[in-house]
Symmetry: C2
Subunit: 149 residues, 2 copies
DNA sequence: CTTGACCCTGTAGTTAGATACAGGGTCTAG
DNA sequence: CTAGACCCTGTATCTAACTACAGGGTCAAG
């Protein structure tokens, strides 16, 4: 058979069967042909397309952004500079998240180092640091940390 | 006045007024006394408690985990080892997220370096890498990246 | 011809951490 | 006494990327 059912495509591309319907709704996978009984029949190359989606996601692109990349990819003779631009922008946002996470790591490391774990709760330097943290080394940490998503 | 209204507490502690009701529902802030007109009256030290919540959040603790820390803190004569354990565990999970993010950064960096942006879309090495990414250097990247939250 | 695996649609639920709104009551300055 | 600022509750909405479910139809083996 040259075509795949939804379940076959799910198995072949390693995603959940429901995710495929979701991708179709989001326009990430083109609406496939249907059989007389209204079953989806996917062409083989849809496997590759789903791989692309997972690959771009693994690089930190949201499905919205993946859709944009797919639109760019759809015009193969155009220059690929827009793709490069998006990759650079994503790299930059990843760098920012790294900075934020490293600040958190540094703060946690300092606290863990400083606390013996032997004293009573009321003298705990870790708890004290949390009390102070609204204005501290990891300031606006919440904002930055939230930004990690 | 020795007590604060909800709006005053929100301003004093730098959170949204609705967040306070949310925290109360989650048990992070104790239910305050009420006036005859059913208005909340917070004792001054609630400001400190909200600071603690924001501080712990900034270090990467979820509200669920913050609640646990608050329960630990509530018994001031007990040993603070459990707090240290939780900080160490959080540090470890932050390290893992860092590893994942650094792998993503490395992959993006390699792609951005390799692509001139001058060629046509159909030869784009970035797009090709995404096609291959279900089994690549950033493998199971989705899982790891999702894990960043 | 029945059983079980698969497929269809539409809708609702999940996670986390809030934020927003509707429809009321209260309080205070002028 | 009234305008506007504040407070109350309960419920809905948001983001992202799915996942689950109900209630039905289809198909292939035995």
């Amino acid at each position: 058979m040259a075509t795949l059912t939804r379940g076959e495509l799910a198995r072949a591309s390693g995603v959940g069967i429901e995710a495929l319907r979701y991708y179709e709704g989001r326009g990430l996978v083109p609406k496939p042909a249907r059989t007389a009984a209204n079953y989806r029949r996917y062409p083989q190359d849809t496997v590759q397309r789903v791989h692309f989606i997972k690959g771009a996601q693994a690089l930190g692109f949201s499905l919205e952004e993946v859709a944009e990349l797919l639109r760019l990819r759809a015009r193969p003779t155009k220059n690929c500079a827009p793709v490069l631009r998006r990759a650079e922008a994503k790299l930059e946002s990843v760098e920012e998240k790294l900075q934020a996470l490293m600040a958190v790591r540094a703060a946690l490391l300092a606290l863990v180092d400083e606390c013996s774990g032997a004293g009573p709760m009321k003298n705990c330097t870790i708890l004290e640091a949390m009390d102070r943290a609204s204005r501290g080394a990891t300031d606006r940490g919440t904002e930055r940390w939230e930004g990690l998503r």
